[in-house]
């Protein structure tokens, strides 16, 4: 495992600027998640580190060595592709053994067998080793793709939304599993996702990326509690942060144009709050309920106790409790 550093990297595809001036350091043994919407430049960043794309400017360093011009094979990285990228004509075993069989590595066949079986057990695919890669379900294929990376001990594991095609239950299991593996191996992982839960639960640090720029990087807690702007704030939190015009509320800082209110910033009362709202809909999720409100024509979503006897059309009163404030450009304003 090694430290990976990218410095002021930019990459454009024709006129589309995929990544601009992005710098990021991933410490040895660290699990960093890049979080952002589709087309934000997350995958391009991974591909730049892997050497599958060459940057227009900037440099990539792995273990203090400049690898900017190196081919993927010379960088010693492992890549888990979103679309599995399994070799369809090979068996699961052959797929996982493929990289170990590279002549450059000179791993003895017996050792390859042991390693592949060990990783297959870890990923619960040990009974599928003799199957063709194409005879597997989507979830199994994705686990083979992860397994193919895990059999190696590269400088860094680059994972491009590896859990996106799994069903919710398996995704939950794999999340725990991946985190456990990472801790056990002390692996350095750069993990791309648009799923905030994955980022929050697994990563030691989250980098929020938007339009090819790294907006903020920090621990999940920092990103959640102290977002530098409204974009970052909107990326984390379920339900999403409510961004409301400051004019609706009294006592906001003069520079603030928008009030960012997460569920925990809103206290619902029958009366006596800062602002009154109408209940438009309630979604019961079992342990909690999503409460859809209307404040002066603006929709607001928050959580409520399922026991609360509220119904559509009811009027409630909201009180703000240390919300976040943003200026007109979306930048954070101190309370």
């Amino acid at each position: 495992m090694a430290k990976v550093e990218i410095r002021a990297v930019s990459k454009a595809f024709n006129k589309t600027q995929a990544v601009s001036n992005l710098s990021l350091t991933i410490g040895d043994g660290e699990f960093v998640a890049l979080l952002g919407p589709t087309g934000a430049g997350k995958t391009t960043t991974l591909r730049l580190i892997a050497g599958l794309e060459m940057p227009d400017s900037g440099s990539v360093r792995i273990d203090e060595r400049d690898v900017t011009g190196d081919a993927p094979a010379d960088r010693d990285v492992a890549f888990v592709f979103q679309q599995y990228s399994l070799y369809p004509h090979l068996t699961v075993f052959e797929n996982m053994a493929f990289s170990l069989r590279a002549p450059i590595r000179r791993v003895p066949e017996a050792e390859i067998r042991i390693k592949v079986q060990e990783v297959a057990r870890l990923l619960h695919i040990e009974t599928k080793l003799d199957n063709k890669a194409t005879q597997l379900s989507g979830g199994q294929m994705q686990r083979v793709a992860i397994g193919r990376a895990l059999v190696r001990s590269p400088s860094i594991y680059l994972m491009d939304e590896p859990l996106s095609s799994l069903d919710a239950k398996l995704r939950g299991e794999m999340r725990l599993e991946l985190k456990r593996i990472q801790t056990d191996l002390g692996a350095t992982i750069l993990y791309v996702t648009h799923d905030q839960t994955e980022a929050m639960t697994m990563a030691s640090r989250i980098g929020v990326i938007e339009s090819g720029r790294l907006m903020q990087i920090g621990t999940p807690r920092e990103i959640y509690e102290n977002p530098i702007n409204a974009h970052v704030a909107a990326r984390l939190g379920q339900p999403a942060i409510n961004l409301l015009p400051a004019a609706l509320f009294a006592g906001v800082p003069p520079a603030a144009a928008t009030v960012g209110a997460r569920t925990e910033h809103l206290t619902i009362a029958r009366g006596g709050g800062d602002v009154s709202a109408t209940v438009t809909r309630i979604e019961h999720l079992g342990d909690q309920s999503y409460l859809h409100l209307d404040i002066g024509g603006r929709p607001v979503v928050t959580l409520s106790d399922p026991e609360a006897s509220l119904g559509a059309g009811d009027t409630v009163s909201l009180r703000l409790n240390k919300p976040l404030f943003f200026d007109a450009a979306g930048g954070r304003v101190a309370a």
Binding site: P72, A73, F81, Y87, L90, F98
Partner: protein
Amino acid sequence: MNDLSTSSQITYQAVPIRPGTIRRIRGLSDQALAWLFITPTIVLLLAINIFPLVWTIYLSFTNYRANRANAPTIWLGADWYQSILTDPDIWAAMQVTAHFVVWTVLIETVLGFGLAFLIDKKFRGHGLWTTIILLPMMLSPAVVGNFWTFLYQPQIGLFNYVVAFFTGREASSFQMLGDVTLSPWAIVIVDAWMWTPYVMLICLAGLRSIPDYIYEAAEVDRASNWRQFWSITLPMALPFIMLAVLFRGIENFKMFDMVNLLTGGGPGSTTEVASITLKRAAFESWRTGYSSAFAIILFVTVFGLANIYVKALNRVKSR
């Protein structure tokens, strides 16, 4: 629900135009309707494929001669089959055919795959090159046969001139079509020239079907170009290559037109492929029964070999 009722209304609105027809078609079951649609094809197939085949099989057991259609037909049993399978001339023709098929298929596959591999690299102008390479395939075999006789002409032929230019040999010192040892190769060269593009096209389809991300994964897995070729490109394109081999093999086993135009089977019978022997027996000697038996033997051979091959192909595909 709404959508359904709307669409059924549209159907009913169309009904009044020709109520009789609609009622008749609606009266037919799905199976009857299916038969209605496939009957013309079946009738056509029976008339121009199955009947001639059955008739040929019948004739192959008789002494029938097409130029003496009124002479009494005598049942000979398997006599023709016996005499054909023990005839050294027939075996010579089969050897010529085998030489032609093996070499053309081998050369076309190697060159065709090689060209496809290069074209697949998508260099600048690869589209133009593809078109240029495909040109020979688009010509008629008759045209190809005729102009290659000119190219092979010892005095004025371009082929002899080019060979003379590179080897320093006198251009008129050898005859590609008139020489016993050279003429089997002359027809191989022309067929390879004409049909390599076809193999290239099929191989190209195979190469294009391999997604880029597989190569990307292999690159990250530290597979060299050599290993990528042997463990990804070739195995994944193999079903396509095998298909091209099948098509060319069948086609060349029954090769007639081009060879007939180039050498007519000569000199002597050095380029007399099976189809030419067959045509001579059928339409020069008018031994219709005999040639029918030979045709059946050729058919069974091609059919049998192709079947074995298709089984192998399916095994490769399902791997």
